[in-house]
């Protein structure tokens, strides 16, 4: 069985700027992984490469042994750090849209989550606050039975009370064959759910380690360790 995600000598340049250089990375199945790094470190570039929104300048990236394309998009569920939903749709229209395009979309699960977060499926997006829209996006993304969930800043705009529910949702919705990759600055908030972390800086990977190893070796939390490594 091919690894879930494999990058070898992966590089991405924008003109003269190198966003990612020579990344070698393998992600296994059944993990929740934090992709941690300061602003401009290359997190979003890596995520866009995984989703086929960018093409590598050098090296390769494989998901289940295949380069990003129609096949990989079926098994990768992606939450961008943008509001990508159009304002005129109602929540229930969006659910139908996802059901139409993704065979692995579980509509019932989506309705359950909407109910838990008190979001009315008949509301249209334009009446919603930014935080509520983020919740709707996250519900759509987590209601798919995907192999790889890629969440770019999933809890940034959401209030702390909903954060806990969302993190719970993330943990309870993935199965042993799927992996969740979370990019975030809010390390303290997600630390407890992570199995593994990747530290990324200036387009290079500094560290890939299990959370337990960091705690054992460094004797501190990931949050504290991150602050030490990236001290300005």
């Amino acid at each position: 069985m091919n690894p879930l995600l494999e990058c070898s000598a992966l590089s991405k340049r924008y003109g003269n700027v190198t966003a990612l250089s020579d990344i070698n990375l393998t992600l296994e199945r059944g993990k929740i992984i934090g992709l941690l790094g300061p602003n401009g470190s290359g997190k979003t570039t890596l995520i866009k490469l995984i989703n086929g929104l960018l093409v590598p300048s050098k090296g390769q990236l494989l998901i289940n042994g295949t380069a990003p394309g129609t096949e990989t998009k079926k098994v990768v569920s992606y939450l961008p750090d943008k509001t990508y939903l159009n304002n005129w749709m109602k929540v229930k229209n969006l659910l139908n849209f996802f059901e139409d395009f993704y065979d692995n979309f579980d509509k019932k699960r989506a309705y359950d989550m909407l109910e838990k977060l008190h979001i009315n499926p008949n509301d249209s997006l334009k009446t919603m606050s930014k935080g509520t829209k983020e919740k709707v996006q996250l519900i759509l993304v987590m209601s798919r039975n995907a192999d790889l969930y890629v969440l770019d800043e999933p809890i940034g705009g959401v209030d702390p009370a909903s954060r806990d529910y969302i993190l719970d949702t993330i943990i309870s919705n993935y199965n042993e064959n799927s992996t969740v990759l979370i990019s975030t600055h809010l390390i303290a908030d997600v630390e407890n759910v992570l199995d593994e972390v990747i530290f990324i800086q200036n387009g290079r990977i500094n560290l890939q380690s299990s959370v337990d190893d960091i705690r054992m070796k460094e004797g501190k939390s990931v949050d504290a360790y991150f602050r030490e490594v990236y001290k300005c």
Binding site: G52, V55, K73, K82, L85, W88, F101, Y102
Partner: protein, 266 residues
């Protein structure tokens, strides 16, 4: 998947087009009735003026809306934040472009139909219709007796092809402009405008070059109707069709290539 894209695209655009079409259709009998009443007292004479103005404005809206909305929809859904959703659907970029193009064509043709129906409804009377039929049948008779029928058939088929291809060309030019725009400039709208001008300049140069052989052949065409028709049916139209197909393949290819390899969502 293409079918689902088309269905979704139709839904997303129908909410603009259908109300617009409805307004134009509803205004037709109202305008006609207002004009039919005739003699308005001086103080009420503004009524027919305003109604006719609104009616004409609605037809102009229908005529121009399709191309504006075609541009707007493509821009919004493919290269702004909505692009994050569209480009991560498990759908090829060919299907995306094709679905947009098909829906754009459906609306273009429907807006022609709406305008045709509305204008016919505005001016239709039994007398005018029979006059029109008379004129048309005379023209048909005249053409039939002067031009060989196989030439005529070819001529008509080619014209139909040119019209159909013409429906696709404009959207494809705008699609390619928008795709080029987000590659060459941070300001996507400015970039798209530049992209549009680049495409226009290149296509102008190509058509000037192609006009040379057309002109040379055209010089030898005699005045007779058969010779003129044969010039169009056997030479000019086939070149036009080939050129249109060739242009469309290139425009489609540019857009497709950029979405696959050079996508630049902020």
């Amino acid at each position: 998947m293409l079918g689902r894209l088309i269905k979704h695209e139709l839904k997303a655009t129908a909410r603009y087009f259908l109300p617009l079409f409805l307004i134009a259709i509803v205004l037709t009998p109202i305008t006609r009735f207002t004009l039919w009443i005739g003699n308005y007292p001086k103080i009420l004479q503004f009524i027919p003026t305003v109604i006719v103005f609104v009616y004409v404005a609605s037809l102009i809206m229908v005529a121009s809306a399709s191309i504006l909305l075609i541009i707007y929809r493509f821009y919004k859904s493919m290269v702004t934040d909505e692009g994050y959703l569209m480009h991560t659907l498990p759908v090829s970029s060919e299907s995306h472009i094709l679905s947009k193009l098909i829906v754009a064509s459906i609306w273009t043709v429907s807006s022609w139909l709406v305008i045709f129906i509305s204008i016919s409804g505005m001016f239709f009377t039994a007398d005018r219709l029979s006059l029109l039929i008379d004129k048309l049948s005379y023209a048909w008779f005249y053409i039939n007796t002067t031009i060989s029928s196989s030439l005529m058939a070819l001529f008509i088929i080619e014209i139909i092809f040119i019209v159909i291809l013409g429906i696709f060309t404009a959207p494809l030019i705008y699609y390619a402009s928008i795709a080029i725009g987000q590659v060459i400039s941070k300001n996507k709208i400015l970039g798209s405008i530049i992209g549009f001008f680049i495409i226009q300049v290149i296509s102008q140069i190509v058509s000037v070059v192609l006009m040379v052989p057309v002109g040379l052949y055209g010089d030898r065409v005699s005045e007779s109707a058969n010779s003129m028709f044969s010039f169009f049916a056997n030479f000019f139209f086939p070149i036009t069709i080939l050129l249109a197909v060739f242009t469309q393949i290139i425009l489609f290819g540019i857009t497709d290539y950029i979405f696959k390899k050079k996508l630049n969502l902020e």
